[in-house]
Subunit: 439 residues, 2 copies
Amino acid sequence: MRLSNYFMPTLKETPTEAQIVSHRLMLRAGMVRQASAGIYSWLPLGLRVLRKIEQIVREEQDRAGAQEVLMPTIQSADLWRESGRYDDYGKEMLRIVDRHNRDMLYGPTNEELITEIFRNSVKSYRDLPKNLYHIQWKFRDEVRPRFGVMRGREFLMKDAYSFDLDYDSAKTSYNKMFVAYLRTYARMGLKAIPMAADTGPIGGDLSHEFIILADTGESAIFCHNDYLESDVLAKDADYGGDLQAIVDSWTKLYAATDEKHDQAAFEAEVPEDKRVERRGIEVGHIFYFGDKYSKPLGAEVVTPDGKQAPVLMGSYGIGVSRLVGGIIEASHDENGIIWPESVAPYKVGLINLRAGDADCVNACDGAYASLNAAGVEVLYDDRDLGAGAKFAGMDLIGLPWQLVIGPRGLKNGVVELKNRKSGEREELTLNAAINKLAG
Amino acid sequence: MRLSNYFMPTLKETPTEAQIVSHRLMLRAGMVRQASAGIYSWLPLGLRVLRKIEQIVREEQDRAGAQEVLMPTIQSADLWRESGRYDDYGKEMLRIVDRHNRDMLYGPTNEELITEIFRNSVKSYRDLPKNLYHIQWKFRDEVRPRFGVMRGREFLMKDAYSFDLDYDSAKTSYNKMFVAYLRTYARMGLKAIPMAADTGPIGGDLSHEFIILADTGESAIFCHNDYLESDVLAKDADYGGDLQAIVDSWTKLYAATDEKHDQAAFEAEVPEDKRVERRGIEVGHIFYFGDKYSKPLGAEVVTPDGKQAPVLMGSYGIGVSRLVGGIIEASHDENGIIWPESVAPYKVGLINLRAGDADCVNACDGAYASLNAAGVEVLYDDRDLGAGAKFAGMDLIGLPWQLVIGPRGLKNGVVELKNRKSGEREELTLNAAINKLAG
């Protein structure tokens, strides 16, 4: 994409309404615009990141055996009356009355609807286990929406729901999602640590929040330092096999948010030099809740011995739009965003240092064509602007690589390749640069 | 995907609530389930089709130079008051009051919001032309939702908005979308004919509906038979060049829906043996409306001579979820759906005729692995069911190819390959079948 044509309305000023760095940078980089309080429009650059995150989530859900569906945003209130949550949910639920005076709502989550789909379709234990997920916009009418897409009202969430006949099978389903979540965040360049979370009246220990470390995080977190140094993807997951060992390795050491933190246990279990106290952002939550919804909604299957039993369910959420902000919180510097390559809107920013110079234009146009032909995503700054503005703009939007082509270098047969994260610059021939980026 | 594990709840009975064939077939094939009146959940098989259609729309929008954004579903009523449409829109608009008593609405369309984004970001004619589109769920509170996804309340629409400085440039933008629409529908195996549509108070001739022929269509249509025989994709589009000749070739002959039909003109312009009178379904609408929104909303740019002028806009809609039904209306037989390959949920249905037979299982498992490795999308009926049920099920869901492997054929070293559309069956070796499908 050529910047001369791209709709990327960057801002020079720091927007005053933005309290945290990811919100400021997303506005400044032209990734999003607020439509109304806590509701955002995604502009081209931001949408590309959102879609890449969504796709990683999708691939890892699919790999773990979950199947994608898509439930609507608007639901009937009747189902929520069946589960008893219509009255409980409070003001965060956006309630709507349609033209026929039926009570509707904008789904803040989908336990009821997926349970209804299940109960109408699946009748036998032979069709279990199942895990159905969707990636859909949700609405929670937060009283004070803030932090940009990190705590918006309309947000994109992946929510999966597992259905099993018995607890052991449900635990296997839970473990698959546990491991899928580790892989999902790792692929985004994030270190997300599972931390025990509330199970409410369900009890047991099958509830974990996945927390990434960031100074601007909403919760204090306490954990064993080994978790910060463990590599996730090295452990290849066989979803057909037993995943308990992986889950155990990520749950045996101390890790808790302030909600569940126990200072005495922390000090007893973790040697002093291994104690980490930081701040964190929740980017996912997995939760086993048994027959909490299947029972009131009557989602039963025939068991092997011919009886009827409510299915046992779990739910598994990932805040897809929130992750865009979360990744920026975890990965930026004073000049702007630093995208991990897997979620970067483009891999390469190509900078023409002198837009009026025929040699520069030729070299840049050629590099742009070669990189595109090699399947490398390039954002090409072909505008007639000063070098300083171009450098600052590229640093701001944080593409992993900057390929800088100017008249002086061309005379010596070289271009400059800069790594946004390390800041390292390298002079090399244009061909060598293209080969390196396409490799 | 193995059917033994797939969430595809097909129905044996024909659902009584479904009045038209696409609705019946989508329910029977387990593609969708109604969540509430006019609101559907997309199950895995249906979602795959929806996503393929969406992706074709996206690719052709991108090719034509439009840039993808994503606006939220929930909008503030204030903008619609600025444009004057808040009171005009009537009961089809789903109106919402949030917890702070602010008037909100579920966007039925996005002229206001995109105009606001534009006015806050673009200030100069130098940044024109622009075309921004998004593919997002909309809500129209139809008084009588019916025909399944063809006339639902919550529906997925692609809407693009062009911004130009003057009429000539706006017409160029219009022509690009006109041609992009021809290509889009052609890629889905549809013959969509552009028909002049109302321009309302704007006047001029820049308003076309794209109509596909189907016996169950909502409108009567009248057109010159040559349009049914013209090939669209043969004319390769150069979006940087002049597209007027292509547009002219698709507008010079008579084509009108009953709304705009003029029987005298039809008879005068079209020889009797070329007159086509059929029924049709609207699957897209493109419309130039000048400064209708930019003026009241103050979306102005600086012109080359230093003045301020409202931008001239057009909008371009495609009913993405409606197309799923529309394609089925246009392509089915008494046994079920006949998917064009470009939008088929899977390319191949692999049928194991004897699930208990080791040779059959081996051959089928091998074929499944080979086809997957070759990137061919396969739905594998590995269930322990009779041949009749498997054949009927595959015909119902309408995958383009059926690869049938049974004990008798294997003894002779052959399998059967059936083309769903033509019904032709061919006996060949398994390797030859795989090569043919992977080619």
